[in-house]
């Protein structure tokens, strides 16, 4: 037993090493494909990243010579990395701004944003003006909009999130004017926050929210201007608060990147888009 533990550790590392090595060989692009080979790096929106990861896996299966690495970090990062060249393709869950003309966007799916309340909250419908007033702190209690005598917990998204930008743009608000009780990052966190506070109001991706509602999570999605928040209404364009999920490129695009973008926009990935609770683009 003198060298017992050392031996155990050696065996473990050797095992891991062998495993890694054999898998590394499998991923080696020595398999004859269609001649497309290279490596792509995608960074950006955490909303798009899981979808892009799934598309990347299918793309790699079709083109064994290509490796697609999907990183995350938020839309702003995706835009910045695409511009700097740190990433081949950026991911952004919003349309490009007028001053971002140096970039090209390629829409791969659509997503809507829904206002959500706790399911026990009886406030039936809020107008756009009321929502804006709640977020700027002019309305601070639910009884001012026909609800119970309770303070409103305003849940806002963190700076740099495209959901925040879309929300501010739609309601013509400035982020400095928002009196947020809680600031959140990702969709799932927003849902957990609102489901845990009967007095909360927040906004998240429709796809994520519908999935959580179907699982019985204690949230309610609020209609906007009389239109139900549903994937169908995002698809037919009637829902007012929707956004494109984009791949973003800067300047000349490599052959591999162009092939990946074309694949991500093709009907071959519609099932993947729907599996992530987004709306495929009609082509």
């Amino acid at each position: 037993m003198r060298y017992g533990w050392g031996a155990v550790l050696l065996v473990v590392f050797a095992g891991v090493g062998t495993y890694v090595f054999s898998h590394g060989l499998q991923a080696d692009p020595s398999v004859p494909g269609d001649g497309l080979r290279g490596r792509l790096v995608l960074t950006g929106s955490s909303t798009v990243a899981p979808l892009a990861g799934e598309i990347a896996k299918r793309f790699e299966q079709l083109h064994p010579g290509v490796r697609v690495d999907v990183q995350t970090g938020g839309s702003s990062r995706g835009i910045a990395d695409a511009r700097r060249g740190t990433a081949d393709i950026g991911m952004a869950s919003r349309a490009l701004k007028p001053k971002e003309t140096d970039l090209t966007s390629h829409t791969i799916a659509l997503d809507g944003i829904s206002i959500i309340l706790h399911s026990d909250n009886p406030s039936v419908a809020l107008t756009d003006e009321q929502i804006a007033a709640i977020y700027t702190g002019k309305i601070a209690k639910w009884n001012q909009v026909g609800g119970p005598d309770a303070p409103i917990t305003v849940v806002n998204k963190a700076e740099g999130r495209s959901t925040l930008e879309l929300f501010l743009h739609h309601f013509k608000l400035n982020n400095e004017d928002i009196h947020a009780g809680i600031v959140i990052g990702d969709n799932q966190q927003g849902i957990l926050t609102v489901a845990g506070d009967p007095n909360a109001i927040g906004y998240v991706s429709i796809g994520t929210a519908s999935y959580e509602v179907s699982r019985g999570t204690k949230i309610r999605m609020m209609p906007m201007k009389g239109v139900e928040p549903s994937l169908a209404n995002v698809r037919n364009g009637t829902f007012p608060l929707s956004r494109p999920l984009n791949l973003v490129t800067h300047g000349e695009v490599s052959q591999v990147a162009a092939a990946f973008i074309a694949f991500a926009q093709s009907p071959q990935v519609h099932d993947l888009v729907e599996a992530q609770y987004f709306v495929p683009i009609a082509r």
């Binding site: 533990w5 799934e54 970090g73 799932q188």
Partner: protein
């Protein structure tokens, strides 16, 4: 204390003895309660994680790659990435950490300007939020040194983060070695390196182990520092230059970003906690054996 030693002291002694008994008991109760509360929190977390996650565990879950953004399939690549990142982190931070600690405790004992400066900067570094390390690692390793999103960048970033913990507890271990050891060794005419290898380091091993255990814990649980360095790619890594998603990044993604990922996040958390326990036990045993050999062979 032999029974009856203070017995004949009269009623005052009986009274103060009674009071002492009472306050002793109160202290004991408080100490027990705090210990129980700490254990209770751990057991609560563990029970919660087990309750939600145990149904998702299976052999396939440990080996397969993830499918459907992690809602199906397994976490095989994440386990391998986590171990590789940890390996890089420890391989870099352990020697540097011990070296710096030896310098601080043995060579810069008096607290010269440089020693004070190093100590102060380590204490500040230990409190820096991990996202700052992540952004720093991304700028230095990934972009400036051109390593890109890779397990190597992630491991190096983590070692920057773990070093302060490791150095400070290792230094404390060395300082706890009684000066008589050093004087005795000096009297015997032993060389400085012999003293270090044969006496000081083995005697300081408990501090080193504490540092390693804390460091491993911090490294395994890290997400913010790794998101921008070792990255988000959930493929099986082929080399240290590949990007690889660690278990805690995977848990973060499932819990925060993937609708319906909750139960898988819990199952992954069970694996992460088990891994932490295994690595910690292994660290303690290895250090123990090494210590033992050093002392008995001398």
């Amino acid at each position: 204390m032999p029974k009856g030693a203070i017995q004949p002291a009269g009623s005052l002694a009986t009274w103060s003895r009674g009071r002492a008994d009472w306050s002793d008991r109160a202290v004991a109760v408080v100490v027990w309660l705090t210990a129980l509360a700490v254990t209770g929190v751990f057991v609560w977390i563990l029970a919660d994680v087990l309750r939600h996650g145990v149904s998702g565990l299976s052999w396939g879950f440990l080996i397969d790659g993830p499918r459907d953004a992690g809602r199906a399939g397994g976490i095989g690549p994440m386990i391998v990435s986590t171990l590789l990142v940890l390996m890089v982190c420890l391989a870099v931070s352990a020697p540097i950490g011990v070296g710096t600690a030896v310098w601080l405790a043995e060579f810069a004992r008096g607290g010269g300007l440089l020693g004070r400066l190093v100590r102060r900067s380590l204490d500040v570094l230990a409190g820096v939020p991990s996202i700052v390390f992540g952004l720093f690692g991304n700028a230095l390793f990934c972009i400036y040194l051109g390593m890109g999103f890779s397990i190597l960048s992630g491991g190096l970033t983590l070692s920057c983060m773990v070093l302060p913990l490791l150095i400070r507890s290792c230094e404390a271990g060395l300082r706890a070695v009684p000066d008589e050891y050093r004087r005795a060794a000096e009297a015997l005419g032993l060389s400085r390196s012999a003293v270090l290898w044969r006496i000081l380091l083995p005697a300081a091993t408990p501090g080193l182990v504490v540092g390693l255990v804390l460091g491993v814990g911090r490294a395994l649980g890290e997400t913010a520092a790794l998101l921008f360095t070792s990255g988000y790619v959930d493929r099986m890594p082929g080399s240290l230059m590949d990007s690889g998603r660690t278990l805690s990044v995977h848990i973060y993604d499932l819990a925060m970003n993937v609708p319906g990922g909750q139960s898988r996040a819990y199952a992954t958390a069970i694996v992460l906690i088990s891994l932490l326990m295994i690595v910690n036990t292994l660290t303690c045993h290895l250090a123990d054996r090494w210590l033992h050999r050093r002392i008995t062979r001398t």
